[in-house]
Symmetry: none
Subunit: 211 residues, 4 copies
DNA sequence: TTATAATCGAGACGGTACGTCAAGTCTTCCA
DNA sequence: TGGAAGACTTGACGTACCGTCTCGATTATAA
């Protein structure tokens, strides 16, 4: 079990192979048939598992999918994620965002991530779990990189780092999820630059743009 | 008909009362039971209409809901929306965003708008229709306000207005949809200020912050 | 119009081409798709006619099919049917029954006639119309042939001719409709002989079997 | 399960209560609303059962109705039916046929039996099942009674008993199903007498009519 | 010869039922 | 006792027809 369970199934007796089979099947189906057509029944069949085994350990389809993502993210490594810190904030952010959109543009991940995102949009409980377990560490990494820049005097002293993070990633994620426009390299570059410099005209005071 | 139709139902013979009843029922049910539990069958029953009448004119549940929004937005007025322009850009944006989050926080609209947003997230065709018919005019209004400020020298000359719009609204919409945090007045104020000034420190050159 | 109509459609103005097209389409569909799958809608489409035109002139699917048969039977000739009368009753009956089963065994007529028969089984009104308009003349011909034989002393004097007719045709029709057994030449020959002679042993009094 | 099933539903797990409820509901509805208006949906609702449970075990409405009859006939007794044998064949046959038409004239059984009969008329597979499981034992009883009479010298030695059975019951069943005339006591008496004696005049050889 | 009124083709409508799919619960049997 | 299997009730799916109801566009009398 990972997220939320029903009553008190004896977690100790849980069969790990079934758990993995279910989560793998869920993620695979997500890619293959799309979110709307993924069914508990389908996952169970694909995983070679009884439906009850799913219902016993997960409260909803969204929770299964969530755990599938969790398994994936934990599978890669057990450690906390870190953003690159070359000292050049703009370059670092640009690099990270370019990697992000590459993933978002990858058809293998697009569908599943949309599924997760919209599931979160409808289920507050899931959103909380997401914030804590999946997004939490990542967001912390982002904040950390910005704090480092702030301490180096590259960011405004009174900057609210949470707002700062959202100012950079919010536009990109929103454009992706709502399909407001294409996720191109130029676009994310532009977002980073504009966010850093602000919309207002910068007084020409000799300060170089990159810093 | 508004969005997409099947083969060649004779639109001239279409019964307007049924159309309105369906869209109204759809919107009402969205509020009452939530998107996932809205069914075509339920809409038909509530509207006092045969299911076929829905299937005849709309290709999917999402399309019905989309048209329900369209009806609402057209019902309010037929004219293009305009953002306030007092000359004080920051004040104007703040006012607009405060109104926006008030609506997003209103339980009557929260559910339906999430439904629309996630439906768009999964259906590119619907996303295109949304971009053109619902979001289009609004986005144009936002761009217009920013252009006015730009011409007044309040915004950078080389600013990409599309990026600018997303930089302001993206964070807010993303926080709303992903439930990343509460939509408070302070938050949107902070977003506007930070977006205008940028993340970097502003050199103190005597230029007043507001202007 | 032929059978029963609703209120007072002006029969004089009725379009004969449509009537024929409907009845022909009905009969053809009966052969092609079977009774259960014949629909008013299908008939109308096939006949190139509006549904209302059918509903205006016929009260039910069964009535349409009935009229289709009526058209066919009237199409062949306008005169009353006559059974052969060579003087040899057994030979005549055998010949007629052999012709009958040939038709019943013909797949082109089997389906439609079953449709008519079962429709009659469920609809007393239709049964009455059938008795009067389709079966009536035929039955009269059968009775006439038997009466002729009776007058020639070949049949019992006190014989109830209605019972006699049913004794000969009843077994055959019942076997056909209920699929109790195959309709072979031997079978109908046997029915005729047995009906004429009765089940009891015939005393050998010199009377020849064929008379 | 009794007649035909689809793929491989595990019959061992089948719920007997549901089966009985379905068959009972089917038979009751047949009486109440008539065959044409009996729907799978209606049966399911009345039986307090999911539609799928019907579709899982029966291939068609006709099959359900057939099984309903089967349940009834098996419910009455498990033994093979026997016709009375007092030695007086004519009296015995008359008694049996009188009982038969009493049932056929009973509105409680008329509708359901017509339903079964017409369903058989359209579905060969069902007809085979009927011949084997419902009609079979009864027909055997009829043949047995006639054979007994034959051995007693009351029937012609070379008589085909199948033809004989049909000669007696065919006319009655045909008159019933096709509504060719009323099923009265006189009628069945007349059928029996005429069938036994034949249509031809009986030579007055001293043999008494009743034997 | 025109009007005028009905029938006609077409097909949208409110419905009912179809036969299918999946949800979530429950029961049986196996390891 | 957890799990595989799968039957169960429920409910929605999307489709086919039902029988009713307009809608112009033909007709075919009656003015």
């Amino acid at each position: 079990m990972t997220t939320r369970q029903r009553a008190t199934p004896n977690a100790a007796r849980r069969r790990e192979t079934s758990r993995r089979a279910i989560l793998t099947a869920a993620f695979d189906l997500l890619q293959e048939v799309g979110y709307a057509k993924v069914s508990i029944e389908g996952i169970a069949t694909r995983a070679g598992v009884g439906k009850q085994t799913i219902y016993r350990w997960w409260p909803s389809k969204g929770a299964v999918i969530f755990d599938a993502f969790l398994m994936l993210s934990e599978g890669s490594d057990g450690e906390a994620p870190v953003l690159p810190d070359t000292g050049d904030l703009e370059a670092d952010l640009t690099a990270v965002l370019r990697a992000t959109i590459e993933e978002l543009n990858d058809p293998r991940y697009d569908q599943p991530m949309r599924a997760l995102a919209t599931e979160i949009a409808h289920d507050p409980e899931l959103a909380a779990a997401y914030a804590e377990r999946l997004d939490g560490p990542l967001k912390e990494a982002k904040r950390r990189r910005l704090r480092s820049a702030q301490q180096a005097g590259q960011l405004a002293e009174d900057l609210d780092l949470d707002v700062a993070v959202e100012l950079i990633w919010g536009p990109v994620l929103n454009r992706w999820l709502q399909r407001t426009g294409p996720l191109t390299t130029q676009y994310v570059d532009s977002v980073v630059t504009t966010a850093l410099n602000g919309l207002r005209p910068r007084p020409t005071d000799g300060t170089p743009t990159r810093g």
